[in-house]
């Protein structure tokens, strides 16, 4: 591969100060560090460094998301064929889902990374990797019927107003992907909820089936919010063959991702576990007091609960940063998600709002945890 290295070295001067392509410096730097580990050596402080960097971390999260993404693609096809009462092969269904999903991913990355690149260039900074993860998550947490232009607007809003104005990855208060979803949820509710957005209705390149315009299909959570029992079996809910946002349906696929995240230590097991604890216990309390007929485990396997707990609540930037705080933060999110689902009939799904609320509360939670350490130190000084 040395020809590649030589080629990069050859064109590099063009991008440096005074070079004719200096205005693309951040982009070049982004690609160079993507291809090769940067060769800069330490100038101060430790002379050696751990091999981990934020590129590696983000790549691991993307890998952890792949099972859910691939299953989501298959489920798009499965739901379409099921709605049309057709039988398709596994490959047909997957290929159809892939074709539905591909433009969504492309729009998300082109718009999001485009803004990131331009912003980095404007600020004279390196390109930050955070959007690699947000860019794949955003299409996965939207209903399949959400149009591309909606994705483009939401991504632009979330990246600019959710992240860049705060100072970029690491400085944002709210989870970027959830902010994109919340933006669409409140601005374009007809594209985000109801009964007509959960199944892809157009055939593509001869794959899939065109469904009638009036076709509707509710998610199990939607059915529950209207007071009827969910039509999907528990088995289907765990495997993920139910209508819902693209990446959130399969508990199994999400569990594979969770194992990768926990094993690599990138996500905090404390946060993840406490979200499930908070949600499970709160749902059990509601059921025991007769507020809802839904079993506690149904709350956990349905909707975006698992996806949120595994991939979104654990976002280290927006979650609580102290170890004690992580427990409080997770329990708060889990409990709140179930409270919203049960108490507010207008919102069948509460995970998004619960996590955004948790994001907002995280600094306050940490503040009190750190304050406890401070007051211990102050007491010791007075003694």
């Amino acid at each position: 591969m040395s020809f590649l290295r030589n080629y990069l070295n050859k064109i590099k001067p063009n991008f440096e100060e005074g070079g004719k392509l200096h205005s693309l410096r951040s982009v070049f730097d982004g690609f160079e560090t993507f291809l090769y580990v940067p060769n800069t050596t330490s100038k101060s402080g430790t002379n050696i460094h751990d091999a981990i960097d934020s590129k590696r971390i983000m790549s691991m999260v993307v890998i952890a998301l792949l099972p859910a993404l691939l299953f989501g693609m298959y489920n798009i096809g499965y739901q379409n064929y099921a709605a049309a009462h057709q039988t398709g092969t596994l490959l047909e269904m997957f290929a159809y889902g892939f074709l539905v999903m591909l433009p969504k991913l492309l729009v998300s990355y082109v718009v999001g990374l485009g803004i990131e690149f331009a912003w980095a260039q404007w600020k004279g900074e390196e390109i930050q990797e955070g959007y690699l993860v947000s860019g794949i998550i955003i299409p996965m947490i939207l209903p399949v019927g959400c149009p591309l232009w909606c994705i483009a607007i939401a991504v632009a809003f979330a990246v600019i107003f959710g992240k860049e104005i705060f100072g970029g990855t690491g400085m944002n208060i709210f989870n970027v992907a959830l902010l994109a979803r919340a933006f669409l949820f409140f601005s374009y509710p007809t594209k985000m909820s109801g009964d007509s957005v959960w199944v892809a209705t157009d055939s593509i390149f001869g794959l899939g089936n065109t469904l009638p315009d009036a076709f509707t299909c509710a998610t199990p959570l939607g059915q529950m919010a209207q007071g009827s029992a969910p039509s999907a079996s528990l088995f289907d809910s765990i495997v993920g063959l139910i209508p819902g946002s693209i990446g959130e349906t399969s508990v199994i696929a999400i569990a594979i991702g969770a194992v990768i995240l926990l094993w690599t230590g990138i996500a905090s097991w404390k946060t993840m576990l406490s979200v499930f604890l908070g949600g499970g216990v709160m749902a059990a309390i509601f059921q025991a007091t007769g507020q809802t007929p839904v079993e506690w485990y149904e709350h956990i396997v349905l909707g975006g609960f698992c996806f949120g707990a595994v991939f979104m609540a654990t976002d280290p930037v927006t979650s609580a940063r102290t170890e004690t705080g992580k427990w409080i933060y997770g329990i708060l999110i889990g409990a709140l998600a179930v409270i919203i689902r049960v108490m507010n009939p207008g919102y069948p799904e509460g995970m998004m709002l619960a996590i955004l609320f948790g994001n907002m509360m995280a600094p306050a939670i940490d503040f009190y945890v750190v304050e406890a350490n401070i007051s211990k130190r102050m007491k010791r000084a007075k003694k």
């Binding site: 050596t41 101060s44 402080g45 091999a51 981990i52 971390i57 691991m60 690491g170 130190r377």
Partner: protein, 454 residues
Amino acid sequence: MTKFVRLSRGLDINLAGKAEKTKRVLMPGEVFALTPSSFEGVKPKVMVKEGDRVKAGDVLFINKDYPEVGFSSPVSGEVCLVERGDRRKLLSVRVKADANQEFVDFGVKNVKEMTGDDVEKSLLEAGLFGYINQLPYAVSTNPQTKPKAIFVSALRDMPLAGDFEFELEGQEKDFQTGLTALSKMAKTYLGVGDKQNISAADVEVVTFKGKCPAGNVGVQVNHIDPVNKGEVVWTVDPTAVIFFGRLFNSGRVDLRRTVALAGSEVTSPCYADMLVGQDIETLVAGAYRGDNVRIIMGNPLTGKPVEKTADTGAASYSRFLGAHTSEVTIIPEGNDADELAGWIMPRLKQFSVSRSYFSWLLGKNREYRLDARVKGGERHMIMSGEYDKVFPMDIYAEYLIKAIIAGDIDKQEQLGIYEVSPEDFALAEFVDSSKLELQHIVRQGLDILRKENS
């Protein structure tokens, strides 16, 4: 019954090229240099002129803020260069050594009969007092501070660090004398590792079991008797304790210390006796392979890279053994390495605490040859809890760093900045996925705080 402290957090980095416990005999070299930069926080004022004759023990420069604190010459000879850098900053005072060494005679003393004030006076007189450091601020101390306790850590557990137990062989008497002398000035604690066999009288011995940085004196202070606002503790390098002992036992300033030569690029890692200020060329010349290496004064985590010899042929001031340096390490520079797509490749030769690499699979006995690359771009803090895993103090490291970056002095005080020194953050800096220069940040924070409080 000694006190026992077990630390659960920390990290041992298993680097290749640990020093064998054999000593190589070196030619001492001709020119010696005492560098003010090895005494943190000292504003030096030079006391000799080029051409002056000095004996070992004569003061070369003093601390401008505390003129009673001087720093004495390791050798006798002729001052050959007073080296200054930008804005006339004193970089080093170089002495061309005589063939026959002469020592200033400070008189043999029986420390058992001395008072704390006597000890302090003797150390000041001999130009050794500045070898005592202090917390807060992690700087060379001054006699106006009244310490609540003195801490000595005999455990050097940074990667590739020189083993103090090996250095101690044959120096036990001087070490004990030094400890007794310290104990006259304030209650003295000696921190030792659980695998070390070091005994001492007149001091309280505290045994530490745990991974690096259990040997950091700051970590030990935090677990024995933490520093509160307004308090001062002194910390003394164990080798400096031997220097003190020699002063009382022989009446001489004898700055001979055992230095480890270690690192993956060293052909045969070993120990050698050197004087403070000795040109490390005498140690490293011909002892390593390859050209593109980084020679580090100290260990790879806290040491400073040695500058290359200038084109004029004059050795850089950074090439002379620092006053607190117990090892010289040599690692590959690594700026010629081309690792493809590091974000996804297995990279089996790389070490990481993260399980996104495979070093956890390869066992603890595997030795790593790490180079000086940062291996990533600097980012804002993204991951949480990274620092805490390798920071065994009751302090929220991440929040302290943020307070320092924000310049919020009240918050820094509340979060415990008086208890830390930059070296305590060395491991956190190593594992940091955002590649922030934590030691540099902490040093700057401490310097600003010291200025504000003085």
